[in-house]
């Protein structure tokens, strides 16, 4: 299941609970949040790309796309850090010879950043669910502008 | 975007009428089809279900959305259920037709069906023998009465086989029994279809389809076959006869009465009534040179093959006949009658007369038909037509010139007779390789296919390859219009078939009747199989329905396959939404009944599929390729 931690930016209040929870769980925070111009908070973490560029230069096969997800094998990692140079998002860091990137907190039911997010802005889901959420929200908005007479008409049709 | 008239039909007469319609701003089935485009994909794939009011439910064929209905039915279940309901409806149409014929037959024996009589005593005796009815020292009415009771009992038979199924080769019957699809009374099977497809009953696609096979067999070897045989007893078993077809059969100076629909009971009486001197006199008075009765669709096939009454066209030509502006009355009973005729006839002087107690339409003159007063009503109908003659607007009349001669009336008995009373010459021709095999090409018209294009090209391709073609229904009329039903058409056949046709003086395409008469094809196949000492599924034979559209056609297709004949469909049935059902129909059935379906819209490719199948069977039988 290629899932990733996504952020519904419209809900994010930039509180940084995610960073803190991640740091507590993983020693290094693998999600980084900054509030751009004090107005727009954006968390960045591994996008779990489905055609990950980071695997391209990996010499030992430590990073590979398998079973529909990006797998990392620290045993095989040479610590060369080339993957970090390949990532367009700068979403991973090399620390002590291993790659620190979001691995969904395997020991937890849900990643801690998602669990702790006070506004439920972060969520861990399959990529397509994001669009679905937004569409539903748009429907809610459009609902208001729908002519109430339609509703009456549809009742009859029902 | 409206298609051009010539893109709609290969028949010049039809194209002419379509152009006339366009000029007059008249809407036809083709126009309505184009307004339906694009058609609902869920419907086309058979993955919508309206069997309960939690629904309608539908399955996303691309797997993103719903993969189950509310009750949990998958695409496979929904498709199978929908297909079963189609079979049930088709079987119901045929068998109800049969019921009407048998009931008339029964009334006739007790003298309640005034003008009907037994026309084919030989067949009566043969049928009685099949039912073990004593024939010696009994009047034909007595025999008929007992036979009628026996036949009526077949419909509601709760247990035990339908008698006519035993006409099939023994191997076939054994197979049916083994698989558990040896049918019981057709009424029971249809009711069971409706029960099984009700919410929460049968939900295994294979299990559902097996019942589909059984139901269709109760139609093919029950309903349809009873209809054919009873009509033969009542109206005579067809024998080869010549006539004409196509819209050109309408007469410019006569009262034109078109008989459209399916049941012979009505048409036979109208034919009689049209000869009534009183009516003929009236016609003269009204300025007509006479009364021209013509057939349409399967009623057309019935009167064509029994009486040589000309036929104006097949299913898609029903509106075109009216559009000629020369039709005084369009008399209809049941099945395949477009409700659009109501609006259409109102644009002309044509009277749209509905007669069946079961079927009424918008804009009709209602003249309900009952056996007791059959002749009187028929006379009244003809009179209405005649009286309408003065209303005809000559300015709007345009009867196409095209009419085509044809030789029809090849009932199974007639074929045997043509062969000299024994199937041996045919068997020899087949084993000898002059005739590669038998192709049964049947079915409706469908606006999704250019009118008659599928029919004519498929048949031509088959005879070219020395396959003797038997035909019924709308395909038969299409072939007739294309001149394929003439002995001269042998010229279009391959050398082997040509030789056989010329020797016997028969066309390479044999007209076996209306769509309900596909039972005749089953009998012919059984006869050939028995003569070869094999099962039907071993025969070098294949079926096709290049332009099928009705639920009857679904039932036919299924019983033909269940009887062991490989069948190629020219339009896609609404089953592709289920890979399981599709696989079962196109592959799995081979293991069950020794035959499968194939779908191929291109008639040439379809012919190839059939030829390949026939060649395969020939090889299996050790016959010369």
């Amino acid at each position: 299941m290629p899932t990733a931690v996504y952020c519904d930016l419209s809900r994010c209040i930039g509180c940084r609970a995610c960073e803190l929870a991640c740091q507590r769980e993983n020693k290094t925070s693998r999600i980084s949040l900054e509030v751009v111009e004090g107005l727009a908070p954006v968390p960045v973490s591994c996008r779990q790309c489905e055609t990950p560029l980071c695997t391209a230069p990996c010499p030992g096969g430590a990073l590979r796309y398998e079973n529909g997800r990006l797998e990392y094998d620290a045993e095989k990692c040479t610590g060369c850090g080339l993957c970090i140079l390949a990532c367009p998002f700068g979403a991973a860091v090399l620390k002590g010879g291993v790659i620190e990137r979001c691995d969904f907190c395997p020991e937890k039911e849900i990643p801690v950043c998602v669990a702790t997010c006070p506004t439920a802005a972060l969520f861990c889901a399959e990529a397509e669910s994001f669009g679905k959420n937004i569409r539903h929200r748009n429907v809610e908005k459009m609902k208001k502008i729908l002519d109430p007479s339609i509703a009456a008409g549809r009742e009859g049709r029902r | 975007m409206k298609s051009k008239a010539y893109e709609r039909s290969i028949d010049p007469a039809s194209s002419t009428m379509l152009r006339k319609a366009e000029n007059e701003g008249i809407e036809t089935a083709w126009d309505r089809y184009e307004k339906q485009l694009p058609q609902c994909s869920f419907g086309q794939l058979g993955i919508c279900c309206r069997n309960c009011n939690m629904g309608p439910c539908r399955i996303d064929p691309f797997g993103e959305g719903a993969d189950k209905g509310i009750c949990g039915a998958t695409a496979d279940i929904i498709v199978a259920r929908n297909l079963l309901r189609m079979i049930a409806a088709g079987a119901a149409a045929h068998s109800d037709h049969a019921r009407d014929a048998v009931l008339t037959f029964k009334k006739m024996t007790v003298g309640e069906a005034g003008s009907y009589s037994i026309k084919d005593e030989a067949k009566l005796t043969a049928l009685a023998a099949e039912y073990g009815i004593q024939v010696e020292e009994r009047s034909k009415e007595e025999i008929a009465a007992e036979l009628a009771d026996a036949l009526i009992a077949e419909f509601g038979k709760q247990e035990g086989p339908i008698q006519f199924t035993r006409r099939a080769p023994v191997e076939r019957v054994k197979l049916w029994t083994k698989v558990g699809i040896d049918p019981r009374g057709v009424d029971r099977e249809i009711v069971e279809c409706m029960h099984r497809t009700h919410i929460g009953v049968d939900n295994d696609p294979t299990h559902i389809l097996l019942h589909g096979l059984r139901t269709s067999l109760s139609d093919g070897w029950g309903g349809s076959m009873i209809a054919t045989d009873v009509q033969d007893v009542l109206f005579g078993t067809p024998t080869p006869i010549k006539s004409t077809v196509n819209l050109g059969v309408l007469a410019e100076d006569k009262v034109n009465l078109v008989m459209h629909g399916h049941e012979s009971i009505l048409s036979e009486m109208i034919l009689e009534a049209s000869d009534d001197p009183e009516i003929l006199k009236l016609a003269k008075e009204k300025g007509a040179k006479g009364i021209n009765i013509v057939g349409m669709c399967c009623t057309g096939n019935e009167t064509l093959m029994r009486h040589g009454i000309p036929t104006a066209g097949n299913f898609l030509q029903q509106e075109l006949a009216v559009i000629t502006g020369a039709v005084e009355a369009m008399v209809v009973d049941v099945q395949c009658i477009m409700p659009a005729l109501g609006t259409l006839t109102s644009c002309y002087h044509t009277k749209f007369i509905s007669t069946s107690p079961k079927a009424d339409f918008p804009g009709t003159v209602r003249m309900e038909f009952h056996e007791e007063t059959a002749y009187e009503i028929a006379k009244e109908i003809v009179r209405t037509a005649v009286e309408n003659y003065p209303n005809r607007n000559p300015a709007r009349v345009n009867i196409p010139d095209e009419k085509q001669e044809c030789m029809v009336g090849f009932s199974a008995e007639a074929i045997l007779a043509a062969l000299g009373g024994t199937p041996a010459p045919l068997i020899n021709a087949i084993t000898g390789g002059a005739v590669k095999g038998i192709g049964a090409v049947v079915g409706c018209n469908n606006v999704k296919v250019k009118h008659n294009y599928g029919h004519v090209n498929l048949v031509k391709e088959l005879i070219k390859n020395n396959v003797l073609v038997v035909t019924t229904g709308c395909n038969a009329i299409a072939c007739a219009e294309a001149g394929l039903l003439m002995p001269e058409a042998a010229a279009m056949a391959g050398d082997g078939l040509k030789g056989v046709c010329e020797a016997l003086g028969i066309p390479p395409v044999l007209h076996m009747g209306s769509c309900v008469d596909i039972s005749r094809i089953l009998l012919l196949a059984s006869a050939v199989a028995k003569a070869l000492g094999v099962d039907i599924s071993d025969l070098p034979a294949a079926g096709a329905a290049p332009e099928w559209m009705s639920e009857k056609a679904v039932s036919i297709g299924v019983y033909v396959v269940a009887s062991g004949v490989y069948t190629v469909l020219g339009t896609v049935p609404p089953v592709l939404g289920s890979s399981e059902v599709t696989k079962l129909l196109t592959e799995g059935l081979d293991k069950v009944v020794g035959a499968t379906f194939a779908v191929e819209p291109d008639p040439f490719k379809a012919a190839n599929l059939m030829l390949k199948h026939i060649e395969g069977k020939r090889r299996d039988l050790g016959l010369k390729p």
């Binding site: 509180c15 803190l20 507590r24 669990a115 006070p118 | -």
Partner: protein, 679 residues
């Protein structure tokens, strides 16, 4: 994996009362787990909550009682410490009388501890007992007390999801109570309209549908302006006004001066927006008002609160699902500390000091001979009295007035002037530096007791781990102290204290330790055993003698200080998401500190440009009371002429004024005139 034990607990930071589990391994805190089943936070936690365990394991924790000597701090035994404290306090009592003593309770301590603390004070004969609610929500107590009869949040937080319109005024909930955003967003998902009135463009405003950027301190003008619209457009709930309120006639008159245009002139909010906000609020089926210290920390704090309450009342938006007034409190037990009577003018359960009946009732239960009938000193007055030499000894229970009280220079002076200062805390604070005696206390998870969250939810915290070193639970320390004083208070544990509380405080009547352990979610009033608690207040009647709410007209008054040519900027203060109040806890989280390490001041980029200040420059801020240095942060969050500073770092409150609300005595932290220059 080794076995970890999970202990349910409640977050020690803000007043929402979020639940989580402490992971305890071999008697040590190993981490925390989320509690998705908790009705307030549904498992989520803000950054402070996430960092809360760092407090428990921090090396700075006080481990032994400390005595100030000439050679610095000296570790002494508990016996010595408590004897000393009792002796010193006793001698002051003897020499100067009870009112020379003062007790400053803590909104961070449990109900039981606060109860005991004020009981000690009152048994010693003084009402000089107060807590930090004075600094944040005293105006709520007085304001809502006057109009509705109960100074507390009317509905549970989760009820916000049922609101169709949420009007947030003077609250940056997204940073200070992040979990509230969850409920507001949920309401928004249902189509609710969210209005945020704030001088700053805070994260809370990001979630709003309408943002009213008012000038600091002009809340009454805004609220009256909205009410003007509601009255003149006939959007009020006449039936509600007739049946449930009184004094509407006089009230209506005063509004006439606050046309949207007039209000706009004062507040700086476009008149159109005021009208829109008024319509959305009044027309909603259920509308909620959320407010916080932006309303309360003004000299007109009480009036501000009343204005909010008036708005709710005339629209009938109180006492039903999704409609109510939500004062967002600060500390995790600020509600409880007030309920327990850790207040100069209230006995436990809000019996007024001076009310004979209330005193008699208390005397009976306490078996006390007499109780002082004179209202005690509030925090600010304590400082004043100390400076004047009238106050001699002070017992501080987990408070850091040097950092958290306004005008800290004067606070320091006051502390210096004291004869004896006891500070009971978990960390060394700036205040503790002035102490004569420091008593090391247990942190929240190291003791047991009940806490009352802002939504009146009483929750029990069990002891998960032992306190470090010799530190002791506050309750034990207080009991030891009382014993030394010979007050004869005998309770075996917090449960027994709570049992007494349920007899003294009517709305806690049905709340016992056993019940809280079973279902740690009872909302007061819960007058008797078996009562289910009351999530929504005022559904039938208000808590006033006649059951009717009062509509009290309030007038806009300009803040005590306004910008002038000498001090051209308007300085406002508040919290950031990552720190907490004086920061004695949050600044001990390495992570929180790493992200927000030092004092900063938000300044509008165009102001900065004029002053030639660049991002990250150190600048000096000066008010009439003091000056401090901070890093400049250029942002559009503040409008021109406005500065914002968080109050977590020492320095901010050198600048703030000590002008007080005349009724509630709450200081005006939110508005000071200020000038700025580069270092």
């Amino acid at each position: 994996m080794e076995e970890k034990n999970l202990y349910p607990t409640i977050c020690p930071y803000c007043s929402l009362g979020c639940g989580f589990f402490l992971e305890v391994k071999e008697g040590k805190v190993a981490g925390l787990s989320y509690m998705p089943g908790h009705p307030v936070n549904e498992g989520s936690l803000c950054p402070k909550g996430n960092a809360s365990t760092e407090v428990l394991t921090h090396p700075d924790r006080l481990l032994h009682p400390l005595l100030k000597t000439e050679n610095g701090w000296k570790e002494i035994s508990w016996e010595e410490a408590l004897s000393l404290a009792a002796a010193k306090m006793g001698s002051v009592l003897q020499e100067y009388g009870p009112d020379a003593l003062a007790f400053l309770g803590s909104a961070k301590c449990s109900n039981e501890e606060n109860y005991l603390f004020q009981k000690i004070a009152r048994l010693l004969g003084t009402n000089n007992v107060d807590n930090c609610a004075r600094l944040c929500h005293a105006s709520t107590l007085t304001g809502l007390g006057k109009s509705l009869g109960a100074g507390a949040m009317t509905n549970p937080l989760s009820d916000l999801e049922n609101s169709d319109c949420i009007f947030v005024v003077g609250s940056n909930f997204a940073e200070n109570h992040p979990v509230i955003s969850r409920w507001i967003l949920r309401a928004k998902e249902r189509g609710a309209f969210v209005i945020v009135a704030d001088p700053r463009r805070t994260p809370s405003t990001w979630l709003s549908d309408l943002f009213l950027r008012l000038k600091p301190g002009t809340d009454i003008a805004l609220l009256n302006g909205m009410m003007h619209v509601i009255v003149s457009e006939g959007l009020l709930d006449r039936e509600f006004i007739r049946k449930r309120t009184r004094d509407f006639e006089g009230f209506e008159r005063i509004l006439s001066e606050y046309s949207p245009e007039a209000a706009s002139a004062i507040t700086g909010v476009p008149a159109g927006d005021i009208i829109k906000a008024a319509r959305e609020y009044a027309k909603a089926d259920a509308a909620a008002i959320l407010y916080s210290m932006g309303i309360t920390q003004h000299i007109s704090g009480t009036d501000n609160v009343i204005a909010c309450s008036d708005l709710a009342l005339i629209c009938g938006q109180v006492g039903k699902k999704g409609a109510g007034i939500f004062p967002l409190r600060g500390q995790n037990n600020v509600q409880g500390a007030c309920d327990m009577g850790s207040l100069a003018e209230y006995f436990p359960g809000y019996g007024k000091v001076g009310d004979k009946e209330a005193a008699a009732r208390l005397k009976k239960i306490w078996a006390a001979e007499k109780l002082s009938e004179k209202p005690g000193l509030t925090t600010a007055k304590m400082s004043e009295a100390a400076r004047a030499g009238k106050l001699k000894a002070l017992y501080l229970l987990g408070e850091d007035p040097v950092n958290s009280h306004p005008d800290s220079l004067n606070v320091r002076k006051a502390l210096e002037k004291l004869d004896f200062l006891v500070v009971q805390d978990i960390f060394m604070t700036d205040t503790a530096e002035y102490a004569d005696l420091i008593l090391p206390a247990a942190a929240w998870a190291e003791k047991e007791g009940s806490f009352t969250s802002t939504e009146r939810r009483v929750q029990w915290i069990s002891r998960a781990i032992a306190p470090p070193g010799e530190a002791k639970a506050d309750l034990d320390i207080l009991l030891g102290f009382a014993e030394k004083l010979g007050l004869g208070l005998e309770y075996r544990d917090a449960g027994e204290v709570l049992a007494e509380i349920s007899r003294v405080v009517p709305m806690y009547g049905g709340i016992t330790k056993e019940r809280l352990l079973q279902a740690y979610r009872v909302s007061w009033p819960c007058p008797e055993t078996g009562h289910p608690g009351t999530p929504i207040l005022h559904t039938e009647r208000f808590n006033t003698p006649d059951g009717l709410a009062r509509l009290i007209p309030v007038e806009y008054r300009s803040p005590a200080e306004s910008p002038d040519p000498a001090y051209p900027f308007l300085l406002t203060t508040g919290r950031t998401g990552l720190h907490y109040n004086g920061g004695s806890m949050s600044k001990r989280s390495s992570f929180l500190l790493e992200k927000e390490p030092e004092l900063f001041v938000e300044i509008n980029p165009s102001d900065a440009q004029t002053m030639e200040i660049e991002e990250g420059n150190n600048i000096i801020l000066e008010t009439r009371r003091g000056s401090t240095q901070a890093k400049a942060r250029l942002t559009e969050r503040v409008s021109r002429g406005v500065l914002f500073m968080p109050f977590h770092f020492s320095g901010t409150n050198m600048l703030t004024g000590d002008a007080l609300d005349r009724e509630a005595g709450i200081p005006e932290f939110k508005v000071s005139a200020c000038r700025v220059r580069r270092v």
